[in-house]
Amino acid sequence: MKLFNHDFEFKMDVLREVGNIGAGNAATALSRLLDKKVDMMVPTVSLLTFDEIADRVGGPEAVVVAIFLRVSGDAPGNMFFIIDQDSARRLLSGLLSLEVSEDLAYTEMELSALCEIGNILAGSYLSSLGDFTGLKMSPSVPSIAVDMAGAILSYGLLQFGVMGDDALLIDTTFLEGGQNAQGHFFLIPDPESFEKLFRALGVPLE
């Protein structure tokens, strides 16, 4: 993307900080929700081809639980909270004290609970990002799917699809202490949103 031709490293650093602030708050929210320690890795920001994005969560055919939210407002984009099946079960048993069955099928109650976890996390991610940038960003109603990572993630790449063959991804990994439940937070701002994010944060565009 043309926007990144100049000062590439610096702009990547700024976006990493965007991920840090958002995900930091989301991690705190998750920790309160579970009443457990939640660790967070340093966010990675990368320009990836469509195929590489699915590789981040185990390849296009890996079955994952994904909560998707469309971000609207000043800097629109797509947001995913992605966890593998083991982590989903651990989250459910930790949160609801439910004994979750080992098979693939989730009950309405379980899906709804996972959806709500995604909702709370995305809400805290976006509200802290909004406070920091002064931009208005609000999440849509969350939607959940348990399916192949490639099938799910391609949905968040459509806005990039018309621009080229790669997308910019802000990826933060969560680790729940002790039990090793792991989750990814993906923020994929629409191509038009970067300029607004940079402007709001006082990053010179030229």
Partner: protein, 164 residues
């Protein structure tokens, strides 16, 4: 049993294969996997289409494999170059699901069905009959086309394996 060669087709990508090789694309959600096959020459082609129309493209260098209206003609051209007869080609397709459901969905939300419609239109314009499809619904699919038989294998998490 012999292991056949697998030719991978990525997202917004297309490829042709022959000599018993298998064309494969993984994780089709709202994207459409369309395959063309010449049963006499046993040459197969597959495209992983992401968007319905190249009219909305804002990229400098157009990736023809990405859009339904450009991917189908390009696939025909590549198959012809590989020795297939366009008059013998038959099409199959899978994908075009709606992965997430929202109340009052916008145009973006309907991308799967729109991809299916545009692909059908492109096939119709090229005069290629669509002989089988497994499209729509709300789940992801992985597809494999065997260039020896023209059989399309569709895999999904919930419904396992099916041949069309």
């Amino acid at each position: 049993m012999t292991e056949s060669t697998v030719v991978k087709v990525g997202m917004a990508d297309l490829n042709v294969a022959s000599g018993g090789a298998v064309l494969r694309t993984s994780g089709l959600g709202s994207c459409v996997g369309v395959t063309l096959y010449d049963p006499v020459a046993k040459i197969a082609g597959m495209a992983h289409i992401m968007l319905p129309s190249s009219e909305i493209a804002r990229e400098g260098q157009l990736n023809v494999a990405k859009y339904a209206d450009t991917a189908v003609p390009e696939l025909i051209r590549r198959l012809k170059a590989a020795g297939a007869d366009p008059k013998r080609l038959v099409a199959k397709m899978a994908g075009g699901a709606q992965m997430f459901s929202f109340a009052g969905g916008s145009d973006t939300m309907r991308i799967g069905p729109r991809n299916v419609e545009s692909t059908k239109l492109a096939l119709q314009q090229a005069g290629i009959p669509l002989i089988a499809e497994d499209t729509g619904a709300n789940y992801g699919r992985t597809v494999e086309l065997d260039s020896a038989t023209g059989i399309l294998v569709v895999r999904s998490v919930q419904f396992g394996v099916k041949e069309i």
